[in-house]
């Protein structure tokens, strides 16, 4: 009665076909050299393309910088809010929900209208770290907040203080270690999402990995296919990290 | 006439029998408890009766009709689960009228019937509440009313009280008995709590290792357990393994007083079981009359009117013997005191050795 049954298997087989086919065929397509010829030509081309590696390096740097910004700017603020200013929680919740309600393209419109200088800020690709920070904010905030709630911060702090620890010691030795899996999880998710981010980079005209794929895809579709298949693999590795860090729990999804 | 008959039921999982050779017949309106430790197969048996599990062999007859292969939804049995399992999205009233509703009864009739039953379980004033607004005991009453609403031929209760705290458990236990009698519905209750089984049932069916060991009235089970397992499981007491010697039982160096000559030949291997209320004690003054044993008081537990004492008997095996002594009489004895104990020859139950 409660077996998987024909219906259950049918659902799963259809799903496997839908999700498997594009992956397999994309990888296969990347070997196509026109007509009936297949080979590694496009991979050689990509390997000798300095622009690809520049774009990849930039995306990696941006991902790491965004994670750093979250750790320096958001994590301490959320911990301090929970400890000293729980009344500010609604404000934090509002800020963390806003990037979901304001689509990325709208935020970039607002940003470019409001912030028109100085050049040292908006001229460097690292300006992107600011919008990326907010793209990552909703789920990074959520997972840190859930992590904090589950450890009963107040009691831990009181216990720590009664043992003679000061605030810094408590945060470093008690709070952060217990947030480990939440932190690693949201860091990896942020890496994956920022690495593939396109909206801001494209509108603000910076050459990140996604922008590069799009560009090369305009005239070399097979190269774009090769990079797409590689991207899936990269995302997979990042998510494997999340799964291992989160002890089998899947992280929330990123923002597009 | 038997309303429920189970014949030769057998079920195996992973190459192992979880149930075998189950034979049971229940009279109309009877309440039988399936009693046993966890893993003894009692829940599997109940779920076979309910229709959630199809047995590998044997038959389930209800009112003379073979329902072994009938779907659970067609059996007209009310079931109450350990986890209450009320539908969380429905009020108490909607939960109770669920059965009549899916059967297609007119709405007015569903509601009328549901109200009657909520009244029967004493929850009339809570009909508009959702399950999460009710206490565990209240939820289980609603579940009982819900099960009765289908006018079941058989009521099945799967450990209905084990999730409740002690006080509510006692109260609801009596109430289940009252409601079951009023409704006159044949009932099977699964439990691992022997006190619950003895207090509520017409008959108790003790299970172990997928088999029915003994099916009898609570008094019979208590006084005349079929074997050592039943004896140990029902109530407390001391069990000794030994050999019959002139009607008594030889356990190591001790000859324990008994009256087994009529039922067991000399030299046969037996288990002897003696309940604490049969054992009497007094201080050891150096003499050891015939039919008494000597021991040291190891601990005493105050039970109110009685105090239960554990004696460690003399000898290499350190056998324990329990005795219930009136509390005012027990005050004179302290752990470490030497005592002698004795009992009537007819008091111990001597049974063939059970092989577990």
């Amino acid at each position: 009665m409660n077996r998987l049954g024909v219906g259950g298997w049918a659902i799963l087989v259809v799903a496997a076909l839908f999700f498997g086919t594009p992956l397999v065929l994309t990888a296969a397509f990347s070997f196509w050299e026109g007509g009936d010829r297949y080979g590694f030509e496009v991979y050689g081309l990509l390997w000798n393309s300095p622009k690809l590696f520049e774009a990849m390096a930039l995306s990696v740097e941006l991902s790491i910088a965004t994670v750093a910004a979250l750790i320096v700017l958001m994590v301490p603020a959320v911990i301090c809010m929970n400890l000293f200013a729980p009344k500010l929680r609604p404000l934090f919740e509002f800020i963390a929900t806003l990037p979901f309600v304001v689509p990325a393209i709208a935020l970039v419109a607002g940003l470019s209208a409001l912030i028109t200088g100085p050049e040292w800020l908006i001229g460097t690709p690292f300006y992107l770290v600011i919008p990326y920070f907010f793209i990552a904010l909703p789920y990074a905030y959520r997972s840190i907040d859930v992590g904090l709630r589950s450890i009963d911060l107040a009691t831990l702090t009181e216990a720590g203080q009664s043992l003679g620890a000061n605030l810094g010691q408590i945060i470093l030795m008690v709070v952060l270690p217990s947030l480990r899996s939440a932190l690693v999880g949201s860091a990896l998710l942020t890496l994956a999402v920022v690495f593939g981010e396109f909206t801001f980079a494209n509108v603000l005209l910076f050459h990140t990995y996604s922008v590069y794929i799009n560009e090369i895809g305009q005239h070399e579709v097979t190269a774009a296919a090769a990079l797409s298949a590689a991207s899936f693999l990269l995302t997979w590795i990042a998510m494997l990290g999340v799964l291992i860090a989160g002890g089998g729990k899947t992280g929330p999804s990123g923002v597009r | 006439m038997a309303i429920v008959e189970l014949h030769g039921l057998r079920k195996f999982y992973g190459g192992r029998d979880v149930l075998s050779g189950i034979e049971l017949a229940m009279g109309d309106g009877e309440l039988i408890c399936l009693l046993g430790p966890s893993g003894c197969g009692k829940s599997t048996l109940l779920r076979i009766v309910a229709g959630f599990i199809i047995p590998d062999a044997g038959q389930v007859l209800v009112g003379g009709r073979d329902v072994t292969k009938l779907a659970a939804s067609k059996r007209q049995m009310g079931m109450v689960f350990q986890s209450y399992s009320l539908f969380p999205n429905m009020t108490a009233l909607d939960n109770v009228r669920f059965g009549p509703r899916v059967a297609g009864a007119p709405k007015a009739e569903q509601v009328k019937r549901a109200r009657e039953l909520l009244d029967l379980v004493g929850l009339s004033s809570h009909e508009a509440k959702f399950p999460h607004q009710l206490s565990g005991g209240q939820q289980q009453r609603v579940a009982l009313a819900r099960a009765l609403a289908v006018q079941p031929q058989v009521l099945l209760l799967d450990e209905p009280l084990s999730a409740l705290d002690a006080k509510v458990r006692l109260q609801l236990r009596e109430e289940i008995r009252r409601i079951q009698r009023d409704a006159g519905v044949t009932t099977i209750l699964v439990t691992h709590d022997q006190e619950e089984a003895l207090s509520i049932s017409d008959r108790v069916a003790v299970m172990q290792g997928g088999k029915l060991l003994q099916v009898a009235t609570p008094a019979e089970i208590y006084r005349r357990p079929a074997d050592g397992f039943v004896a140990r499981f029902i109530g407390s007491g001391a069990v000794f393994a030994g050999r019959v010697e002139r009607g008594h039982v030889r356990v190591g160096s001790m000859l324990l007083r008994a009256d087994a000559s009529a039922t067991h030949a000399d030299g046969s291997e037996v288990e002897m079981f003696i309940r604490p209320e049969s054992v009497q004690i007094q201080a050891h003054d150096g003499e050891l009359p015939d039919g008494t044993v000597a021991g040291t008081l190891s601990e005493s537990v105050f039970l109110g009117g009685l105090t239960r004492m554990r004696l460690t008997l003399e000898g290499p095996d350190n056998h324990s013997l329990w005795a219930d002594v009136p509390s005012e009489h027990a005050e004179g004895f302290k752990p470490g005191h030497k005592l002698i104990a004795w009992w009537e020859a007819a008091a111990p139950r001597v049974m063939p050795l059970s092989r577990e």
Binding site: L12, C80, P103, A192, R256 | A50, P88, A147
Partner: protein, 281 residues
């Protein structure tokens, strides 16, 4: 002050959020109604033009369609994989794959589908080989149904991840109790299963709607102007590809935010109704 450094952290976070998140959002609202000669409704009125009405129609249609497909397919997959009869390994395979696919979006996803069912795609040419011409049959990857197909690739896994906890919270005993009381499988799902799942399905739908509505990269790489969506229209204004003033981009953005807020509010009202039986705050 007990911990001045704590306020420093909180203050820094709030300040950055105010300047780079709240202020730009507010800026959009201001920009949308202020022209060269002060307050004006001119830009908001351009939203009523055929071009932008179509863009909103397409965006809404695509979001509703892909969210609905995602909710139904995602729930079915989660349901099938969580059945007690399903093998154990299946569960870890599906959850880990869903985590990857839900985050596989944007340009790479677009090119994966172009490589597969684009005009030159491998599946397209394979099917043509056996006499099935997808594009002659009216299919196009660069249409709303085509986009829905592509969006499903991240929407369905997203739903699987969201809905798994809700399925796990359903007690098997509910099903048994219903069966025992004479209910058929259909009656159980209609009266108990779906009502219990409803709040989770609804919040899943909202998340999927939002993710499709604000998606830009996938659409940009796929359509390049074939179909106008609100996001691609905004980017066209921003990059100067169309001769519109930036204020129009602001008005479009405000329009998107209004839609998101309305959908969120409506869903909260529905969710409150659907979950009136759950624990009240």
């Amino acid at each position: 002050m007990k911990a001045p450094i704590a306020w420093l952290f909180i203050g820094a976070f709030l300040l950055v959020s105010a300047i780079f998140l709240v202020a730009p959002t507010a800026m959009l609202a201001v920009q949308a109604v202020i022209g060269d000669d002060g307050l004006t409704l001119e830009y908001v009125q351009t939203l009523g033009s055929y071009r932008y009405v179509k863009a909103f129609e397409h965006s809404l249609y695509l979001s509703v369609l892909s969210a609905t497909v995602g909710v139904i397919a995602g729930a079915l997959i989660a349901f099938a994989m969580l059945k007690p009869g399903a093998p154990r390994w299946l569960r870890s395979v599906v959850t880990s794959f869903a985590a990857v696919a839900a985050n596989f979006a944007g340009v790479p996803l677009a090119f994966a589908f172009i490589s597969t069912v684009g005009t030159l795609g491998l599946l397209t040419s394979m099917l043509k080989h056996i006499g099935v011409d997808l594009y002659a049959m009216g299919f196009s990857l660069f249409s709303i149904p085509g986009l829905t197909l592509v969006y499903s690739y991240f929407q369905i896994p997203l739903m699987v991840i969201i809905i798994i906890p809700a399925f796990e919270a359903m007690q098997p005993a509910w099903r048994e109790a219903a069966e025992n009381l004479g209910a058929t499988g259909g009656q159980y799902w209609r009266m108990v299963g779906l009502p219990v799942l409803a709040p989770s399905l609804l919040s899943g739908w909202i998340l999927l709607f939002g993710s499709a509505f604000s998606a830009y990269a996938t659409a940009y790489a796929l359509t390049s102007g074939n179909i106008s969506l609100v996001t691609t229209e905004i980017s066209a204004v921003l990059s100067g590809n169309v001769s519109s003033e930036p204020q129009v981009g602001a008005a479009l953005s405000v329009g998107m935010i209004v839609v998101m807020v309305l959908v969120l509010a409506a869903s909260q009202m529905l969710a409150r109704r659907a979950s009136r039986w759950t624990v009240k705050q």
